[in-house]
Amino acid sequence: MTDLHVVALVSVGAHPTSGRPRRAEQDARAVELGLRLAGEQLQVVHAGDVADEALRAYLGMGLPRLTVLEQPPRADALPALVEHLANSPAQLVLTGSQAETGEGSGMLPYLLAERLGWPLVVGLADIESVENGQALVLQALPRGQRRRLRVRLPFLASVDNGAPAARQSAFGPARRGQLQAQESAPAVDPLLSVATLQPARLRPKRLKVVSAGSAAERMRAATRKATGGGGQTLEGVSPQAAAEAIFNVLLDEGVLR
């Protein structure tokens, strides 16, 4: 797998409480996965400001260099990344699934895949093998489940919290690594002319509203113990018959694999 050409795209994150710049959690996982696949051959690309100190946290994971496509703040990173990737021999591009700053819509991997015409794997957890231009990959699903997919190279994969946790960033390599700037044409993001960013408002908690008619009924609904209602009861049946009934429900629900 060493000859696989892997690129990881990274952004600058923000700490969830203090808001201080840091390496983005999911992007760091993408770098981690890339390092496991390609070692030092991994290319890491960021579109933004080369002077951003937070980028050094990625170098601290053991990267010799990081390519920065220079963009003014709040610009649209997509055109620069498309151009860079289209002109590179990349076979696998790893991204996080959602940025921690700005809009954070999670659209970037989808738009990149659409522009490049590559397939996109969402929620990559691991790459099992790469053979004959096809990769066997594991996809992380909700509830801790995994799914195996076969994908043709080249492809794009986004990484979420199901991927292996990122290694720590060390201070020495972070200082020694190089941030290499590349010129790229700036692109304006039209969204911010119509939309406004404001501090997040607390979402109202939904109350369980009982729309029963009378006060007595609402009182009863509020104090009632949970009852399934309409449940089926089997009494006085043999264990085999009971097991059969339970088995059928499990099979119906699709939880038996």
Binding site: P16, G19, A99, T101, G102, E103, G104, S105, G106, M107, Y110, E114, P119, L138, Q139, L141, P142, R143, G144, Q145, R147, R148, L149, R150, V151, R152, D160, L191, V194, T196, L197, Q198, A200, R201, R203, S211, G213, S214, E217, K225, A226, G228, G231, Q232, T233, L234, E235, V237, P239, Q240, A242, A243, A245, I246, F247, V249, L250, E253, V255, L256
Partner: protein
Amino acid sequence: MSDIIRRDPRAEWIARNRLHPLHAAMQKSDTRWMGPNGLIRKNPHALAAGFVGPSGLKRIDRSGAEQGGGQKRSAPETAVRLPLHLVEQPSHLVAVVPDMVGGRLGSHDRDVFGLARQLAGATGAVLAVVFGQLREDAFDTAGADRLLILEGDAYDGYCPEQRLLALRAVESGFAPRHWLLPDSRSGGGELGRRLAASLGERPATRVWQMRDGFCSSRAGAGREDLVQPTPRLVLASAECAEPVSDTRHEARQVELPAPVISHLPRMEDLGAVAVDPSQIPLAEAEFILSGGNGITDWNLFHRAAAILGATEGASRVAVDDGHMPRARQVGATGTWVTARVYLAVGISGAIQHLQGIGACEKVIAVNLDPGCDMLKRADLAVVGDSAAILQALIERVAAHRQGGRRDAA
């Protein structure tokens, strides 16, 4: 409904008003009647019972013209049938693609339908687009005016590219004014973004509120909100709107005008991978086998969990007695679980335990005591001995597994 006695002021007023057309119907007939011998009979007790007058005082009217209101007004016993909201010629369509986890509408899906109804208004229609096999018949109360079912082998398993083609066919066939999808990890978030990239629409994601043509969505890591005019494509988070609760809708089936083209998938689904269920955090597990004080043979319980592929849970008593680790405790002081299927064996269903399984969809309970609360909560309740039933279940599943292997060979 209730047996609370209620006065009906209108009936009383009609009974007092001799000119009212319904006056006769409101008169009590059984205080004076013609006896078998032609004599007029009176019921003095009924007269003395009197009636409550308009000022709230009891009145006795011996003139024989006792006035209405004596009848008890009771609410009709019939189940509430919600009014039907019909849209014959919709001015516009709002397409909703629910997740349908396990083939059913989840609460997130219903919230999105609620939001779609807001966008559809009185003249528009909500079009539900669902894939594959259905186990849901509540599209009418969820708020779908039109229902498009896309069935076929092509939509089985994980096939986002094929589904995207189908949604593109819906786009060209119906041209909905809005697209709404749940922004969830169980499919909607991914499909919606693929659709957005393919249509070239910039979506609003993680939308949690929509008001006056503007929608608010969480931005970044959740520290900021992005407020923008509602775009065509909206990916909404859970509880983005109240689900439809006071109308019924038609859920009329529609067909795609043109068949969906299919092409060679670039991604192939090779199926689910066996994950060690004991590695899955209890709060996230999809299928939990939980044991309580009614388990006599814990080795049998562990074997059952292994063969079922279920994550193990326990009641507090089982944990306190040292049969299970503390991290496996389900309930108020343990873990609040979200399993889709919860199989409780030998658990009585104390309120602290039931609180912890409030979010479970299907509960199956096995217990010796037919009157216990767990059986009342359960969708399938089995009265019987835990050991015998677990043993039978192990055998049944083993037979199923072997049968499956023979079929595959």
